[in-house]
C-alpha cells in the first residue's frame, strides 16, 4: 500500500476573501468556513481566530489539535468520510506548519476533566510555546458556541467533526499546488513484507487507541469514522492510521489527532524498515475498565501478534491515564508469555512520583515487563508569563482575567508538551 503525503509548507496564515495559498501564505475565507461549520445544528455560532508563533497569546480549553489534510481526488472529510475508499493509499494534501485548534467553549466545569484551571493551554510565546509543538505552528482556532438543549456529549462530537471538516476544507487549498515535499509511505501486505528481508526481526506496533476509564462519546469518529467502545483488537496497515482511520478520542490525554496523523512510532518503524527490522503491521487495541475485558483484550492482542502476524517483537504505547498503563502492561505480559518480546513506552501518569522506598514509577509490577522507556512525568511545573490576548473559554462568564495573567501550570496542562506516542525527547529520571 503506497501513500503519498503532499506537503505544502505554509509560512503565514491570514484571513482573506478566498481560501487559497499564495507564496506560502494561507488565506482563509472566514465567513465561508464559519458557514460550513455552522451547518452542524448541534453547534451555535462558530468563531474563528488566528494565533501565530511569537504572539503573546494564550489559547485555553483546548480539546484537540488537527493538521489540515485532505484526500486528493476523493470526497468526504479526513477522519470520517463515508465514501472513503482510498484511505491509506494515493495522495493526501497536507498543509505543513498549520494546526487547527479545537477550543471547547463550554463552562470550565464541563470543558475540563477536573474543573480546575483553564483546561489545556497553548501559549504562542514564552516557555509554554517552547515545550509544545503547537506553540510553533500557525494556528486556526475554532470556537464553536454551545447550544441550548444540546448535550455535552453531542457538543464534543460536533466539535471534533467541525475540526475534521475544517481540516479538509483548508487542505483542499493545497491540492492543486506543487508540494514542497512528498513523503512516501510504502509497505506491502503482511504476506509479502518479509520478502528479501526475512533475517530481520518482525516488529509489530500495538497501539492503544481508546481508554474506557472515560465514557466514550457516541458521535466521535475514533476508529474508521465511528466511536470504538465495542471494539476488539484488530490489525490495520500503518498507512491507514496516518491517513485518518484513527482520531484522538476525548479527552485526549497527551494524544492529539495531529500526533496520530504524524505518528512518531509508525514513522520510526518505517524509518528502520528494511535495514534493522521488518515493520509487520499495527494492532489497534482498547484499554478496558473492568478486569475481565482487560485480560480479554490483552489475550486477543497478544494472539494477533503471535499467531496471525508472527511477530518477533512488539512495541506498545498507551492513551488515557493510569488504568491504561496496567492494560498496556498486561498486554505486554501476555505477548512475552507467548514468546513475542516487547518494549513499552510510557508517560508516568499514575506515577508514585515521590516514592523513594519502592523505587516505583509504574503502577504495575510484572516480571515479564522489563523493557520500559520513560517519556516524562506530567507533573513538573512551568511558570507561564502573562499574555495580551486569551482565545477561548466560555463567553457566558465575563472575561476571565486570571487566564491572562501569570500562571503556574503542570506540564501536562500544556497541550502537546508530552506525547504518549513517542514524539518528545522527554524522559523521567529518578533522583
Amino acid at each position: 500500500m503506497r501513500l503519498e503525503l503532499h506537503k505544502v509548507k505554509i509560512q503565514d496564515v491570514q484571513f482573506g476573501d478566498n481560501t487559497r495559498i499564495n507564496d506560502g501564505v494561507l488565506y482563509v475565507n472566514r465567513k465561508e468556513l464559519q458557514e460550513l461549520l455552522q451547518a452542524d445544528k448541534r453547534l451555535g455560532k462558530v468563531e474563528i481566530e488566528l494565533a501565530r508563533p511569537g504572539e503573546r497569546c494564550r489559547i485555553v480549553q483546548v480539546a484537540d489539535v488537527i493538521e489540515p489534510r485532505s484526500k486528493i481526488g476523493s470526497q468526504g472529510s479526513f477522519g470520517f468520510a463515508e465514501k472513503y475508499t482510498t484511505l491509506g493509499e494515493g495522495e493526501t494534501s497536507v498543509l505543513q506548519g498549520v494546526a487547527i485548534i479545537l477550543s471547547d467553549c463550554r463552562g470550565k466545569g464541563e470543558a475540563t476533566i477536573s474543573g480546575e484551571s483553564h483546561g489545556n493551554i497553548i501559549d504562542m510565546a514564552g516557555p509554554g510555546s517552547e515545550v509544545s509543538p503547537f506553540g510553533q505552528t500557525l494556528n486556526v482556532v475554532l470556537l464553536p458556541q454551545p447550544k441550548d438543549r444540546v448535550s455535552g456529549m453531542d457538543y464534543q462530537a460536533a466539535l471534533k467533526m467541525a475540526g475534521l471538516r475544517a481540516a479538509t476544507y483548508l487542505a483542499r487549498a493545497g491540492e492543486n499546488l506543487k508540494p514542497d515535499e512528498i513523503e512516501i509511505y510504502d509497505l506491502p501486505p503482511l504476506t509479502e513484507v518479509m520478502k528479501s528481508i526475512d533475517t530481520l526481526p518482525k516488529i509489530t506496533y500495538i497501539f492503544q487507541i481508546l481508554s474506557l476509564q472515560f465514557e466514550p462519546i457516541p458521535g466521535e469518529p475514533t476508529l474508521f469514522g465511528k466511536q470504538a467502545e465495542g471494539m476488539i483488537p484488530t490489525i490495520v496497515h500503518p498507512n491507514q492510521v496516518l491517513d485518518g482511520a484513527i482520531t484522538s478520542a476525548a479527552p485526549g490525554l497527551n494524544v492529539q489527532t495531529y500526533q496520530i496523523q504524524n505518528h512518531p512510532m509508525i514513522k520510526e518503524l518505517y524509518r528502520r524498515h528494511g535495514t534493522e527490522l521488518c515493520f509487520a503491521g499495527v494492532i489497534l487495541t482498547v484499554a478496558h475498565n473492568n478486569v475481565a475485558d482487560f485480560d480479554r483484550m490483552a489475550d486477543i492482542s497478544a494472539s494477533l501478534a503471535k499467531w496471525v502476524i508472527g511477530a518477533d517483537g512488539a512495541v506498545l504505547t498507551k492513551t488515557g491515564g493510569g488504568a491504561p498503563e496496567l492494560a498496556m502492561a498486561r498486554t505486554a505480559q501476555r505477548c512475552e508469555q507467548l514468546g513475542v518480546k516487547t518494549a513499552i513506552a510510557m508517560l508516568h501518569m499514575g506515577a508514585d512520583f515521590k516514592d523513594a522506598k519502592y523505587g516505583a514509577s509504574t503502577i504495575f509490577s510484572m516480571p515479564e515487563v522489563d523493557t520500559i522507556v520513560s517519556m516524562g512525568v506530567p507533573y513538573t511545573e512551568l511558570t507561564l508569563p502573562p499574555v495580551e490576548k486569551v482565545i477561548g473559554g466560555p463567553r457566558s462568564q465575563s472575561e476571565d482575567l486570571t487566564a491572562k495573567g501569570e500562571m503556574v501550570q503542570w506540564m501536562g496542562s500544556i497541550k502537546g508538551s508530552l506525547c504518549q506516542l513517542g514524539s518528545s525527547r522527554l524522559t523521567a529520571v529518578r533522583y
Partner: protein, 353 residues
C-alpha cells in the same frame, strides 16, 4: 594544618560508641563537642585531605537522641553554630537504627535551619533511611562497620560536591540512595527512537538498560479471617472520591492528602442528591447517578437486617486514589485502620475504581 580560605569547615556527628565514650551504657549521654576529629573522623579527615578540616565532632548518645529527636536536633544545631560550618558529615551509621535516625535528623536540621549541606551513610535496612531519604543524601553502606573504608570516600566525595554547589548526578552515578524525586530531562532521542532501539537490542540478545525499573512492593501479611461474620462489625471504605455535596473536608481530586468519614446513621441507601465525586481518574457519571454503585450501603443494610453481618459501621471513609503516593495512601490507611479498630470494626470492604 594550614588554614586557607578555601578549606571547608566540617562538622562530624557521631554517637557515643564511635565517639569513644562507651557502649549502650553511655547511650543516654547528651550532645557534647570535641575539638577536631574523633574515631572514624580520622578516616574522613584523610579523605578530605586539604580540601576540608573537621573543626569539631559532636557526640550524642543514641537513646538521648531517639527519646527527643526534635529537642536533640535543636541542641546539636546550637552546638555547631559557633563553628560556622560549611559542611556536616554524620555517621556512617551502618545498621544501627537509632544512630541512623539521629544522623538523618541532624543532617536534615543542618540543611533546613542552617543551610549547611550534609551527608550521611547507612545500611538499606536502617529505619533512618526511609524517614530521611526524601530530604537527605544518604550513602548506602554495609550493615557493619567493616564497610567503613568503602563508605567514607563515597560520603566525602558527595559532601564536597554539595559544598561546591555542583550539580549532583543520578543516584547510580554518585552512589546515594534515590531520594524519591522524578525529574524530567531531555534525552537526545525521541521516545519512539528509544523504545524501538531497546526492543532491537533485546531481540539481538544485547545488553540494555530499561529506563524504568520494576517496583519492589513489600509483602503485607494478611489479617486472619473473621471467625463469626454474623456478629462482626463491617465498615465501608472507598478511594473512589465519593464525598457529601460541598466536599466539606476539601478532599483533593488527585494526589489526595486527606480522607473523610461520613455518617451512615439512619441511612438505608445513599441518595444521589446528597453526594458528589472528586476524582479525575474515571468518569463518575454512573456513581453520581447511584452512589451505592461505589459504596454499597443499600446492600449492606439488607445484609445487616437479615443477620448476615453483625452491624454496618456507622461511618464510611472516603478518599481519592489517583496519581497518589504509596506512602501517603499507606499512612491514610493506617489512620483509618486505627479508628476502625477503636470502634470495634473487624472487617472492611474497600471499594475502588
Amino acid at each position: 594544618m594550614k588554614e586557607s580560605d578555601d578549606m571547608l569547615r566540617v562538622i562530624h556527628y557521631v554517637n557515643q560508641f564511635f565517639g569513644g565514650m562507651g557502649g549502650e551504657e553511655k547511650a543516654e549521654t547528651g550532645p557534647q563537642v570535641h575539638d577536631g576529629f574523633l574515631g572514624p573522623g580520622r578516616a574522613i579527615q584523610t579523605a578530605l585531605g586539604s580540601r576540608g578540616e573537621i573543626v569539631a565532632t559532636i557526640i550524642c548518645g543514641d537513646n538521648y537522641f531517639a527519646e527527643n529527636i526534635e529537642g536533640a536536633s535543636e541542641e546539636v544545631i546550637k552546638l555547631l553554630t559557633p563553628f560556622k560550618p560549611d559542611l556536616l558529615i554524620a555517621g556512617p551509621a551502618f545498621g544501627a537504627g537509632r544512630y541512623g535516625i539521629a544522623c538523618g535528623a541532624v543532617c536534615r536540621a543542618a540543611m533546613n535551619q542552617m543551610r549547611v549541606p550534609a551527608v550521611t551513610g547507612m545500611h538499606e535496612e536502617n529505619p533512618g533511611l526511609d524517614l530521611y531519604r526524601n530530604e537527605v543524601y544518604i550513602i548506602p553502606t554495609e550493615a557493619s562497620a567493616r564497610g567503613m573504608n568503602v563508605a567514607v570516600p563515597r560520603m566525602v566525595n558527595l559532601a564536597l560536591k554539595l559544598a561546591a554547589k555542583e550539580k549532583i548526578g543520578r543516584p547510580s552515578e554518585e552512589g546515594y540512595f534515590p531520594r524519591g524525586l522524578l525529574v524530567n530531562e531531555i534525552s537526545n532521542q525521541t521516545g519512539a527512537e528509544r523504545v524501538v532501539s531497546m526492543l532491537l537490542k533485546k531481540l539481538r540478545g544485547q545488553s540494555f538498560e530499561s529506563e524504568v525499573p520494576r517496583p519492589n512492593y513489600d509483602h503485607v501479611i494478611p489479617a486472619p479471617r473473621i471467625e463469626d461474620i454474623r456478629r462482626a462489625k463491617i465498615a465501608l471504605v472507598t478511594d473512589g472520591g465519593l464525598v457529601p455535596k460541598g466536599n466539606p473536608d476539601e478532599i483533593e481530586m488527585r494526589t489526595a492528602t486527606r480522607f473523610g468519614k461520613y455518617t451512615l446513621k439512619g441511612v438505608d441507601c445513599l441518595r444521589p442528591e446528597d453526594y458528589e465525586v472528586r476524582h479525575v481518574g474515571y468518569d463518575s457519571v454512573f456513581v453520581r447517578q447511584d452512589p451505592n454503585r461505589l459504596v454499597p450501603v443499600d446492600v449492606m443494610r439488607d445484609l445487616e437486617r437479615e443477620g448476615a453481618i453483625g452491624k454496618l459501621h456507622e461511618e464510611f471513609y472516603s478518599t481519592t486514589g489517583v496519581a497518589n503516593i504509596v506512602e501517603t495512601m499507606r499512612k491514610m490507611g493506617e489512620k483509618i485502620a486505627e479508628e476502625l479498630k477503636v470502634n470495634g470494626v473487624s472487617g472492611v470492604i474497600l471499594t475502588s475504581t
